[in-house]
């Protein structure tokens, strides 16, 4: 059984691995968790001893099959609770992440599976991320962002890469949800700002960072 901290590190490593596919360094983990690199080095030792990760200076940190399994189940619990909070308790998009962050650590052998069943076996969470099944398999994960769309192109919002309440509240304000149609009217060469039209309405300008945080289907 893993401690709360161990679970948070596993989840963090899993996310970094999914996000970039790049080398996962102690500094990257430290930045992601807001911890000191020295603390990360300690935890890398603990997780290595538990055979949940392998650390190689050249390759960085990698999850072992056991570590991947544990991390996947944490993510499964997180995303299922997010669905519950939004659909059953009526929370808003931007409120659920932090609460799910706590709920995901509840330990019980059958809880996730019962919750999954109760929710009707959802494939995606409210942010558009696929929910891993009990066996670790999950639906397709989208990777194209609004910033990848060609000028003039149309797309549909399928997920968000950033789940901070700042971003989600901004989306709310712009009237953007999962499923919203967006046309990319123009890319400003100077700073890669994007001029877009949301659901065919009046045009708005958003930043490159914004565009890279919104996952879309063409």
């Amino acid at each position: 059984m893993n401690t709360l901290s161990e679970e948070n590190y596993l989840k963090c490593i899993y996310r970094l691995w999914q996000d970039k596919g790049q080398k996962i360094t102690p500094t990257a983990i430290a930045d992601s968790l807001g911890n000191n690199p020295a603390s990360v080095v300690d935890m890398i030792r603990k997780l290595t001893d538990k055979q949940l990760i392998v650390y190689d200076k050249k390759k960085g940190v990698e999850l072992t099959p056991a570590g991947l399994k544990d991390a996947t189940l944490i993510v499964r619990r997180h995303r299922l609770w997010e669905v519950f909070l939004l659909e059953k308790l009526g929370y808003h998009w931007d409120e659920i992440h932090d609460i799910a962050e706590e709920l995901e650590h509840i330990k019980d052998a059958t809880l996730a599976d019962r919750l999954d069943k109760f929710l009707g076996f959802p494939e995606y969470d409210p942010h558009g991320d696929p929910i891993p099944k009990a066996n670790g398999k999950m639906a397709k994960r989208y990777s194209t962002t609004l910033a990848d769309v060609k000028a003039g192109g149309h797309c549909r919002v399928v997920a968000v890469k950033d789940t901070t309440s700042q971003f989600l509240q901004y989306l709310q304000k712009l009237g953007i949800n999962i499923g919203t149609r967006i046309q990319l009217l123009e890319k400003i060469a100077f700073d890669n700002s994007l001029v877009i039209s949301i659901n065919g309405e009046e045009q708005k300008t958003v930043s490159q960072k914004f565009g890279e945080s919104l996952l879309i289907d063409l």
Copy 2:
């Protein structure tokens, strides 16, 4: 905001206060939590500093109004989650206590109220304990036990005083639930064992300890 440990101590003190109206000593708390009395003395100091309890050698530990409020809200969350686990996720009577023990510590300002609404504002939890409302008020708590019934008397099970899985599984085996009718046929003078008839069926003998753990309405 209270830590996990602080919350567990508050809940423990609350339970001891409800159970017996007796003096709450460090040893009693230690026994109840399975901790060392020395640890309890430390925590008494912490909670006193936070003005959640008052400790007087003569009177023992008492909750302040602030401490009572915090404790009541923890109990509220615990009992609401128990209802959720049983009614929505299909857990059995004896499985829900330990999971609720973890869920009760999830911190969010509106979670308990949303859950309460989602569950239809239940008055009692699956063990028959009244669920405190957001304002701290709650329905009547039963205090008469099967051991208090006179020989020949009839009664109806309304709650359990003991929520260990050992007891609850034993009840299950005997076919006793909330609402079950019991007749007390005889009290054995030797050891206060009770000869009972469950729902008018064949008679069984149970211990004094058993009788004192079952709350009834005459």
